[in-house]
Symmetry: D2
C-alpha cells in the first residue's frame, strides 16, 4: 500500500500546477468575459488557441490517452492521469487547453480503438491536434435513457448506407462552431437481446438531415461555447463504414468508454470541490461579521473540516478505482466505478454549495465560478445515469456477492 503519487505523476502535476498558476488563473475571468461578449456564444474565444499551443509546448497535451493508444497520447495509466485531471477540474474550461475535455476524450479513445485508417485520418488526427471538436449523442428526451434499452433512435441499413432517425438532447459539444463530428448511439435491431440492439455510428455534423434544434440549459447554464444541443436526425444517411465495431455492439462500446469517462468526471469534480474549499478558506479569513473574521466561528471551522474530509475521501476512492482499472480492467472494476459515480458528484454538490454559503451573495454571482461549478456537479448526478441507477446496480451486486 502506498498513497503517494509516483514520480511521473508528481513531475507532471508540478508542471501542470505551474501552468495553471501562470497561464490559466490569471485569465480565468477574461476568458469567461470573452465567451459572453463574443460574436456569438458558440464560438470558442481566440485566446484558447494560444493557450492550447502553450500547453502543447509545455508537454501538457493529450494526457488522458493511455499507453495502449501510443503513439497517440501521453501513455499515462488511469492512476497517473487522475491527479492531473483533478487539477484541470479547478477551472471549468481548462481541460480543453490540454485537449483533455469531454466528450472529445471519449470520442478520441473510441476512434483510436475502433476507427479505420480513413476515419482516424479524417477525425482522430484533427481531434488529437485540438483543431476540431466532437460530440456524443446518446440521451433522448422522450425516454429514460439511463436504461439503454429505452433508446428509440433507429439506425437502419439501406444498401451501402445507414439511415438514422431520432431525436437526441444534451448532446454535449454539438453547439460549438468547431464541432465537426458526432458519435451517435442508436438501435440497429429493436428485436435483438437487450444489450445487442444498440450500435454506435459516426455522423459528421454537416450531414444532410442533421439539425440543431436548440441549446439545452443545465441548471440555468448553457455552458457556452461548448453547449448541449437538442439534435434532430431526419433520414440522415452515412456510409456503412461509419458504423463502429459492428452492429449490436454499441452497448459494448459505451461500456468501454464509461470507465475512464467516469473517472475523469469524478476527478474533475474533485478538482471543482477542492477549488471551492480553497476559495472558502480564503474568503472566511477575509470576511468580517459581528466583530470577527468568519474563520473564527466554530461552525465555519467545522464546515471547512467536513468539506476537506468529504473531498479527501472521494479522492481516495476515485484513485483506487483508477488503480483497479489499471490492474484488472473495466469489468472487474465495475463496482468501484459505480461507487465513485455515486459518491463524487453528490460530494461536489455539497462542498460547492457550502462554499457558496460562505461567500454570501457573491457566491451566487458571476464573479465566482462557484455557481457554474455547482451546476456542473449537479448535472453529473444525472448525466450517464442518475445516482439511483448506479446505486441499484451496486446494491444488487453487493447483495448477490454476499449471498453467493
Amino acid at each position: 500500500m502506498n498513497f503517494e503519487y509516483n514520480e511521473r505523476t508528481q513531475t507532471l502535476l508540478k508542471q501542470l500546477r505551474a501552468f495553471m498558476q501562470e497561464e490559466v488563473y490569471p485569465i480565468e475571468k477574461e476568458y469567461v468575459h470573452a465567451v459572453e461578449n463574443g460574436e456569438n456564444r458558440w464560438q470558442t474565444p481566440v485566446m484558447m488557441q494560444t493557450l492550447k499551443q502553450r500547453a502543447k509546448d509545455a508537454g501538457l497535451w493529450n494526457l488522458f490517452l493511455p499507453e495502449e493508444y501510443k503513439p497517440y497520447g501521453a501513455g499515462l495509466s488511469n492512476a497517473e492521469y487522475a491527479p492531473l485531471c483533478e487539477e484541470m477540474g479547478r477551472v471549468l474550461f481548462s481541460s480543453e487547453i490540454f485537449n483533455c475535455s469531454a466528450p472529445d476524450t471519449g470520442n478520441m479513445e473510441v476512434l483510436a480503438k475502433y476507427g479505420n485508417e480513413e476515419q482516424k485520418k479524417q477525425w482522430l488526427e484533427p481531434l488529437l491536434n485540438g483543431e476540431i471538436r466532437s460530440a456524443f449523442a446518446m440521451t433522448e428526451p422522450a425516454v429514460a435513457s439511463s436504461d439503454a434499452t429505452n433508446i428509440e433512435t433507429s439506425i437502419t441499413r439501406d444498401g451501402d448506407e445507414y439511415v438514422i432517425n431520432g431525436r437526441k438532447w444534451y448532446t454535449s459539444g454539438a453547439m460549438n462552431e468547431n464541432c465537426k463530428i458526432m458519435v451517435v448511439m442508436g438501435k440497429t435491431d429493436f428485436e435483438a437481446a437487450r444489450h445487442q440492439q444498440q450500435s454506435q455510428i459516426l455522423v459528421p455534423m454537416d450531414t444532410k438531415g442533421v439539425s440543431i434544434v436548440r441549446p439545452m440549459a443545465a441548471m440555468g447554464y448553457f455552458d457556452e461555447p461548448v453547449g448541449h444541443a437538442e439534435v434532430l436526425f431526419d433520414n440522415v444517411r452515412v456510409p456503412v463504414s461509419n458504423l463502429l465495431l459492428g452492429e449490436g455492439r454499441g452497448f459494448e462500446i459505451a461500456q468501454g468508454r464509461l470507465g475512464p469517462g467516469r473517472i475523469h468526471h469524478c476527478m474533475r469534480l474533485i478538482g471543482c470541490a477542492q477549488r471551492a474549499l480553497d476559495l472558502a478558506c480564503e474568503r472566511v479569513e477575509q470576511r468580517v461579521a459581528f466583530g470577527k473574521p468568519l474563520s473564527k466561528q466554530q461552525s465555519v471551522r467545522e464546515s471547512i473540516a467536513q468539506m476537506h474530509c468529504d473531498i479527501e475521501q472521494a479522492r481516495l476512492l476515485t484513485l483506487k478505482a483508477a488503480d483497479k482499472m489499471d490492474r484488472y480492467g473495466n469489468k472487474v472494476s465495475r463496482d468501484i466505478i459505480a461507487a465513485i459515480k455515486i459518491v463524487a458528484p453528490k460530494m461536489a454538490c455539497k462542498v460547492i454549495d457550502e462554499a457558496i454559503q460562505m461567500h454570501g451573495a457573491a457566491g451566487t454571482s458571476q464573479d465566482y465560478a462557484l455557481s457554474a461549478m455547482y451546476a456542473y456537479a449537479r448535472t453529473i448526478r444525472l448525466a450517464d445515469g442518475p445516482d439511483q441507477v448506479h446505486m441499484m446496480q451496486l446494491g444488487r451486486n453487493l447483495i448477490a456477492e454476499k449471498n453467493a
Copy 2:
C-alpha cells in the same frame, strides 16, 4: 386550535386557484419565452399588463396589504394572506400579476406607513396600481451586509439635500425598465449607537449620480425582466424630505418590513416546493425505466413521502408564524420568524432538488421551471441574512430564555 383556513381565505384561494388554472399555467412557457425573446431582457412582456387587468377584475389585487393600510389593499391578516402567497409561489413570475411581488410589497408598505402625502401620490399610488415598479438597495459587495453595522453607503446632509455615496448590489428590481423608485439603506451617522447609524431614503431611479453598473446573476439566473442590479451612487442628491421616518431609524424600518417579507418569501418557497412535488408525482407515474413506471420504485415512493412531510411541516410553521404576527406583532414573533427563515429555504432547496433528480436531464432544462425555482430557493438562503445569522440569533435567544 384549528388548522383549517377560514372562509375568507378559502374563498379567495379557490378564486386564485381558478385564476392560476385558467390564466397562468396555460401561458407559463409563453411568458418565459416572451422574456427571452423580447427587445431587451429587462422589459416586462406586454402580456403582463393584460394579466394584471384580469387579476384586478377578479378582485385578486394587492392582497398583501393588511387591514391597517386601508383603504389601500385587501385588508387580509398575515395568516389569511399566507396561503394565497403560497399559491402565487407556484409560478415564479405570477406574484406580479396580482401586484404582490417583492420588493414592491415591502416598499409599498413602507410608503403607506412613513411616506408623506406627496410621496404617496408620486410613488405609492402608481405602485398600488401596478403602473411602475420599485427597488430596494441594501446589500453591498464590499461587506458582510447581514451585519447591518457593516454598511458603508453614506447619506450625508448638505443643506436641504442628502448626498448619497456608495455601491450596492443585488438591488432587486432595479434592472427593470419600469422601475422608477428605490428605497436605499445607508448610514447618516457612522458614530451613533450600533442600530442608530442607518437611515432609509427614497431615490428616484433617474436621479443624477445613480448608475446601473451591471445585472447580477444568482446561481446562473438573471431573473429577467426584474433583475438584480449593481448600483453605483456617486454624489446622488435628493431633497431632505425623501428621508423616511427620520435619521437613524433605518434599522427600525428594516425590522418592520422583515417580518411580513420573510413570511412572503417562505410561503412562496413553499409554493415552489409543492409545485415541484406535484410535477414529480406526475413525472414518476409517466416515466418508465427497467420495465416499470418510476412510481413503483420503493425509493421513489419514500422520496415523495419525505418531500410531502418536509413541505407540510414548513407550511405549518410558517402559518403559525403568520398567526403569531397577527396576534402579537413583529417583536414577540422574532424567534418564529427566524425559525421559518432557517427552515423554508433549505426545505425548498432539498425538495426541488429531489424533484429535479426525478425528472432526469429534463429537470435541469429550460423546459421545466425547476432549476429556476432551485436558484430562487438557494438564493433566499442568503438573501436577508444567511441561514447562519438567523440560527445564531435563534440559538442565542433559546439558550437565554431557558437559562433566565
Copy 3:
C-alpha cells in the same frame, strides 16, 4: 386557523406541568434507582402507587380516553390530549402515573369499544383504576410483521374454545409482574382475503400454555419494570367469548387503535426531544471549554436553533393530525397519520442524539435519561411498522391522488 391551545388544554397543561415540577422531576433519579435495585427488575416500585394516587387526586387521570368512552376517561379530543401527552413524554416512566401509558391505553380503548360486560368488569375496570397492567402481542420473530399478512400465530376454534399457537416477541408490558391480560393478534383463517385473516383475542397471562421465554432488549435497554417479552403460545385455550369483535376483524381493530396510538407515541417523542433540548440549553451555558461556555460557540447556537425548528415542526404536524382525526376520523386522516409516524421518531432520534453530543460522555451515561430516550425513539422507528412501510404507503397515496 388558530395555533393556540384551547382553554381546557391550557388549564390541564398548567396543572400537569405543576405536577411534573412538584412530584415527578424531583423523584426522577430515585425512581430509576428503585427499579434497578428492586427485588426483581419487573416489579414496579411502590412509589408509583403513591404517585398514581396523587395524579388521581389532582384530576390528572385517564386523560387519553375520548368523549365517546364516557363515563370512562376525561373526554378530551385528540387535539386536546396531545399537548398533555407531550408533557408526559418528558419523563419516560411518567405516563403510567397518569394511567396513560402504552400499551394499556390502546388495550383500554379496545376493551371499552369491543368488550362485553364481563370483560369490562374483569379487565377494563382494574385497568382504568391503574390496578393491573396489560400487554399487546403482535410482532413475531420469524416474519416481517409490518406486513400483517405475514403473521403466523394461529387462533383455531375448537368447540367453545379458541386454541392459540405461536411465538411473539416485543410484547410490550408482558414482563411486568402486574401484567394480567394480553390482547393477542393471530390468524383465524389463513385462506381468507389478505386483511380478513387476522383476529384479536384476550388471553389472561396465567392461561396454561402461555410462557414468557425471555425479556427482549431494545437498543441495550430492557425498559424495566415494564419490559418487552418473548412469549410462547403452546396450545393456549381460551373461551370463544374472548375473541374481540369477530373472526377476521383483527386487522380492522388494529387499524382503529393505530391512529390514536401513533399520535400518542409521536407526542411523547416530541416531549422527549423537547426535554433533551431543554437539558442541552442548560448544559451548554454551564460547560466551559477552550475559555468560554459552549453556548458562545456559533456551532452550538446553530444546533440548538435547528433542534428547536425540527421539534416545533414535528409538533405542529402531529397536532394537525390530531385535529384532523377529531374532525374527520381515522380513515380520512390516513396520510397525515403516516406522515407523523415518518417524521416524529426520526426527528426525536436526531434531536436527542445532538443533545447527547452536547453533554459529552455524561450524555451517554446513566446520570441522564438521554440515552434511554434515544433508545425509545430509535425503537419507535421500527415499532408498528418501520419508517419505510409508512413512506411506501404515503408515497403511493400521494402519487395516486395527484394522478387521479
Copy 4:
C-alpha cells in the same frame, strides 16, 4: 500509488480471517451469554483464556506493537496492522483474544516506551502475556476533558511519593476483576504553561485511596466484563518512580498514544460497520415483505450501496492516515488523524443504524450485536474529544495553511 495490502498483511489477514471463522464467530453468542450469566459481570469468561492461547499458537498475538518495540510485538507498521485491526473490530470482544484491545494497547506502548526495567517487569510483561489487564484514567465528570487544561486531578509531590486526588470516570477497563494497573493523567503544576501542567503516573489498582465508585453506562451498555469505572482518588500515594517520563510531560505522552489509538478505534469501527453491512446483505435476501425479498426493493439496494461507499471511503482515509504516520510520524499526520476521528465514528453510527433498520425489531435486540456496536460507535464520537473539537482543530489548520 498502490491500494493493495502487502504480502505480509495479506498473509496475516488470511490467517486472522480463518481464526475468526473457526474460533470466534461460532462462539460469539456463547461468549456474550457467558458474560451475562457469570458469577459477577466483571469477570472475564474462562473461555477467553482458551481463545488467547489459540491466538498465541496461531501467531496472532500482540499484532499492534510496531517494529520499534521489538523484541515485544509483531513489528507491524500502522498500515500493516490496520487491516487486521479492522478484522478484529467485526466482533466487539475479539480484540482481547489477540491481546490487541484498548486501553491495554496504549498502556503497553507507553510502558514499553517510558517504563523503567522494574515497571516493565511488573506490568508490561504480564500485559504482553495477556495475564492482567489495565486501565487509563483521563476523563473527569466535573469538566470538559476534551480541553486537557481543564483537568482537575492533582498529582502532588510529597517526599518520595506523589499524592493523587481527584475523580475520574469512564476509566475504561477499571471494572474488570483482572485489571491491575492504571495510567492516570493529572496535573503536577496548575500554574505551568497550558500543556506542561499535566503528568501521567502509574497507579496499581489496589493502592490505598483508590476506590471504584460505580460502573458507567455508555448508551445503555456497561461493556461487561471490561467496563468503564468512576474512580475516586483520595490521597492516593505512589512512589515518585511511578511518574512516567517526567513532570509536565503528560500531554506529550497523551499525544504520542493518540495517533495509533485513533487509527485502532477507527479501523475497529470500520470493522463493525462492514460486519453490519454484511449482516444486512444477508438479512435483506432472506426477509420477505409485501410479496418479495427486501433485497428487491430499490430503496434497500440504494441503502446498501451507500453504506458500502461510506465504509470504503472511511477505510481508505484511515489506511492513508496509517501510511502517513508510518512515513512521517505523528506530528506531520495531525490533520489526517483528526480527519479519521471526525469521519469514522460518524460513518459507523450511520451504517450500523441503517443495518439495524433493515433488521427490524431484531436489529435492536440482544440477538444481534448491532445495537452494542452502535453504542460503541456512538461513544467514540465523544471519547478522546467530541467530533467538534477535532473539527475545530482541523478547520483552523486548513484555513491557516491556505492563508499562509
